[in-house]
Amino acid sequence: MSTLQVSIYRYNPETDSAPYMQEFQVDTQGRDIMVLDVLHLMKEQDNGLAFRRSCREGVCGSDGMNMNGKNGLACITPLSDVVKNGKLVLRPLPGLPVIRDLVVDMGLFYKQYERIQPYLQNDTPAPAIERLQSPEDRDKLDGLYECILCACCSTSCPSFWWNPEKFVGPAGLLQSYRFLADSRDTATDERLAELEDPFSVFRCRGIMNCVAVCPKGLNPTRAIGKIREMLLANAT
């Protein structure tokens, strides 16, 4: 019998006047299970515990949360990766309004995603077949399109914490560059014009928290650097 001590953020706005941390003892039977499995074991103890989950294999991006101080997906994070001294502290993603327990309001995150117009724009007549792309041009989208919008990166970014209405955030900027880099997209100038102000892109200070937490191993800081290069090339 091996017991894991879990401290978890609880808040139900209908009954609680303030958030608090609740302690759980979870029997993991000595196995190196995922944090999401621990949450399910805790839910057996307290049915009122609220958290999001869906695919449980790191594809849907629902269960982003803060585990022992670092954002990540609970479903693909084994206890051996996060537990220190037999303790696990679980909190909601930082910086977003809490709806209940680990469930946060992702509205601001999606609003910034919507702002960068995350769809292909092409003003030339549509060909009879698909718009073709060379293998080299297709390669430019690798490391960009794989984002699952779990919000682990943007909610670990202090620039996004302080200015979530103005700074697009790493997730949105990675997707912005995904369309800027796409050879089939013709709205490059319009996209760049929307990003040139002091907040949208330039509030990034390059501290690379986003790179450190991305569960898909993507690099938003590099994409932001590429956007800066495009802006600079366009304006000088």
């Binding site: 200015n163 040139e196 102000d197 002091p198 907040f199 949208s200 330039f202 802006l231 600079l232």
Partner: protein
Amino acid sequence: MVTNITNFGRSGLSDWLIQRFSAVVLALYTLFIVAYLLFNPGLDYATWSGLFAQTWMRIFSLLAFVSLAAHAWVGLWTVTTDYLKPTGIRIGVQTVIILAIFVFLVWGIQILWGA
């Protein structure tokens, strides 16, 4: 569209470029001053005054002062927009910062070209 009127360039790109250019100037100026002090251990007033009497040194110093003013403004403007959320306090602090920068810049020019 994100708007702003209190940063001078009205553009994140120009702020970013100013910040990098002024950082290079300040690094060069710092290296020069430190090296000069190291190579002149028994520095007296006449030598120090003689250095700043030369036109190239005055131009280099003025470039460094202007760079410092621009660098400080871009940096501190960013800090105020990050941490000072009430508009009145933010504009008040920005006013104090820009006034101080202006005073220091004029004072610096006066020292460089003064008697």
